[in-house]
Symmetry: C2
Subunit: 344 residues, 2 copies
């Protein structure tokens, strides 16, 4: 037989301890003043009966779930897995549990996830690198009382923000600038497709042009933020634009996919082609040659997001914005062209 007996309740404990339910409630919640003797006795009974409060009942009356949702595009991306750790490490000591939902890079699924969540399920929401346009995202977020977004701007009243990037979609500029300084002139760009939600590629090209860097239309492709997408896009890009001297990937996975494609096409790295990624996942440092990358501290982003959320859940609804800057880590996948006379 499976256990059938009713769970022990507050009332059971109260009866057995010879006190009122309220007293027991006060003891377990450490609220109000209780004599040591009573407290002790109550604790003993709780122990004996293996009493554990019913969360649902408590939530019904307090409106607190002690649950936080973390909505991410892809937890198999080491960047997001690391971010999860940051979030959990901050929330757990505060007794919050983390509900993780993965949209698998599918905007429709992200939407569905947000629709299924609400304030009776969670106390707060951290939405990471949303792939939804503002017109879809903001109405959904309005339904939640406490929201923090990462790598995504939000109108002030909606929630606080952590940027993992000095400007959304602009992280790659650091790579362009660096390569340009090293003498590279024909630089391909595998931008992440969701960047197009907030940065028009034409604008991006113009902004690069202001820095004296040319990015021709045919030198860039939008691609999904995954290894295989990077491979495919990189392969295509190098096939059609063999004159490229370097490729910048929107993240490490994409850059590494492109790097593999380049190798398969017989290019040598960094001699025939420079490659730059972004994030600095473990894989980046372990391939040969190791990948030059734009490092972002995913763990810090996660823990900061959690801290901002705790603030909000604690009642402080002040808008806060935290920007982590991106750091260039130079490794073997790029080199200087300055001594080659390869400048144009």
């Amino acid at each position: 037989m499976v256990r059938k007996q009713r769970r022990t309740t507050l009332e059971d404990v109260a009866r057995k301890a010879g006190v009122s339910m309220m007293t027991v409630s006060r003891v377990i919640n450490h609220t109000g003043r209780i004599s040591d003797a009573t407290r002790q006795r109550v604790f003993e009974v709780i122990e004996q009966l293996d009493y554990r409060p019913n969360r649902a009942a408590r939530t019904l009356v307090t409106n607190k779930t002690f649950m936080v949702a973390l909505v991410q595009p892809d937890i198999t991306n080491p960047y997001f897995a690391e971010m999860f750790r940051g979030v959990e490490d901050v929330l757990r000591p505060e007794d919050y549990r983390v509900l993780v939902a993965n949209s698998n890079e599918t905007p429709a699924r992200e939407q569905e996830i947000l629709e299924m969540l609400d304030d009776t399920t969670i106390d707060g929401l951290i939405i990471c690198s949303s792939r939804l346009p503002d017109s879809d995202l903001l109405p959904l977020l309005e339904r939640f009382s406490c929201v923090v977004a990462t790598t995504r701007a939000l109108p002030e009243p909606i929630g606080s923000v952590v940027h993992s990037d000095y400007a959304p979609g602009y992280r790659a500029v650091i790579g362009f600038r660096y390569l340009h300084e090293q003498g590279y002139r024909r630089i391909g760009y595998l931008r992440l497709q969701h960047y197009d939600i907030y940065v028009d590629i034409k604008t991006f090209q113009r902004d690069l042009a202001k820095l004296g860097i040319q990015l021709k239309d045919e030198w860039t492709r939008a691609c999904a933020p995954q290894w295989q997408a990077g491979y495919d896009a990189g392969y295509d890009l190098l096939k059609t634009q063999p004159e490229l001297q370097a490729i910048i990937g929107g993240n490490d996975l994409v850059a590494l996919g492109a790097m593999r494609a380049a190798l398969d096409l017989g290019r040598t790295i960094p001699d025939d082609l420079g490659v730059i990624g972004a994030d600095d996942i473990l894989l980046a440092s372990q391939v040969t040659p190791p990948l030059t990358t734009l490092k972002t501290n995913a763990y810090a982003v996660g823990s900061m997001a959690a801290q901002l959320l705790l603030r909000r859940m604690g009642g402080d609804m002040t808008y806060r914005e935290h920007v982590y800057t991106t750091e260039l880590i130079v490794r073997g996948s790029t080199r200087s062209l300055l001594e080659d006379g390869d400048k144009e």
Copy 2:
């Protein structure tokens, strides 16, 4: 101002629709028979008022939370991230949400997590590769009505089981056998430290001996299932036992760490040293040389675990056990020694 107004409740909907609360309840739960006209009207009002049922209230009365906990040792290990996807892909269509808790490879933290969870928080529990000994784990699991464990045996009444391995802690044997066939005779083994919970290393050595394979005491180290631990242990192992012809890692991260250590020590792979990992994470195929590994389908393990859990949550408490077999993927990090005359 923040929203202050009370959430709309069943009662609000009932009043506005001119029906009883019960009718509304039946409509939203698709239970009982309701006239089309009434149903339609109720749905309209629900829409107008943007009504959403209060989860806590519902849970209080039904005892269903529609929440499943996934307890894992380390979500930054791609193996577990992939497994999460398998779990979620099965559970979401059934309307379950997934609470993820990460023990960070810390048994005490795993214990703490399990203690904080209970049947009023979740309907079911999937515990992955528990790092706790049976004496600690089993009493904790008994408190839950529906449990599935992965890569870990469980007494029948406790829960169902998915093995990602032909026998717990024995996956590496396939690697030993393969290397032995290829002429390797001095094989180091970086076993995962938690294996010692269920497989005594002496027994393991004896079992290998039965296959005619020698594993000397000084050729094996227990190490944490992470890259850095693999690096450190591998470094130490190769320093003290330079005669080793190969190293088998308990998982890919460890093997890759050891591989890096070998390279840092000036060994060439596979010429000076063979390396085998386990899991087949993306990184394994992307390093140079690519890593020979014992592939396990993490996604399948996750989705099978979720399916077994659904069965249990659906009331079918039959014990079920699913074993995935491990597949050897031979890549460039190992070679044949048979033509070398290097046999002993």
